[in-house]
Symmetry: C2
Subunit: 151 residues, 2 copies
Amino acid sequence: MQDSLTIGELSVRSGVAPSALRYYERLGLIRADRTGGNQRRYARAELRRVAFIRISQQVGVSLDEIREALESLPGGRTPSPQDWERLSASWRGRLDERIRLLTKLRDDLDGCIGCGCLSLQRCTLYNPEDTLAGEGPGARLMLPRASPDGE
Amino acid sequence: MQDSLTIGELSVRSGVAPSALRYYERLGLIRADRTGGNQRRYARAELRRVAFIRISQQVGVSLDEIREALESLPGGRTPSPQDWERLSASWRGRLDERIRLLTKLRDDLDGCIGCGCLSLQRCTLYNPEDTLAGEGPGARLMLPRASPDGE
DNA sequence: CCTTGAAATGAAGTGCACTTCAACTCACAC
DNA sequence: GTGTGAGTTGAAGTGCACTTCATTTCAAGG
């Protein structure tokens, strides 16, 4: 059991494609040493970073924000469980918020199925102030949303 | 109060940019009549379609699937409340599933914050069988995920 | 040594959901 | 009738998260 992993090994063990790992490195999310022949060798601690990245993505965080979070880890030493705890906890509010909005949407959808409204009137389903912003992909430059009014 | 809307009016009342409305039309999600001068005029019923599109997006459905759903609406007559109810209900399972996965992620994150694991070992956070597939954007062609193993 | 599978690189491509741009035409109030 | 804001089009651009490709180099076993 060596103390470093090739990109192929890290890929298999993390479930992340080699191309994605190289991409993460370009973005500064993970790092690797190089062999004399210029091949990447990952310290075992990188496995945790990759795990953190994938979990964070499920929470709906962008790679750029994940990078910022990872930059707050201590340099020099291997991050402790407490370090990871702090990072994970920082997504907690976001996760709660997403769950809350989605649950609201579900409940409202129930209500609206009952009344069959689905109009833009005052239906709680269609409230831009309270929307799942950044949920999907799509262009980032959006016109400021006008408030919808009655049908 | 006229019975048709210009693209600007539909945009303001739906909160969707004109460019997005044209895009939806190209994809076959909405339709418009044309004036003699080739300008779009939307029937009021299109407002409901746009509302349905935006709500569906919040549920995490792609425009392509939304198009398929909308195609199941009756042609010829204006869709009834029951028609919309049926469509909305068809997203319900998906919404439930998303909420379930996110909630699981939250609970597991709590547990893992306690134990500080965040490894790829057997942490329930990192289970590809039970992932929020299709949550983010990103390329569609993904390598089949290898099962992650212990650190 | 030689072969063979793995790895390296940069550039380009993919998919989604749009937006932006340029050049032009409409519709309507005055 | 004229000006002005709103609308039209196709083509190209944007942002994110990657993948694919072609070409070349490495590493390790036999």
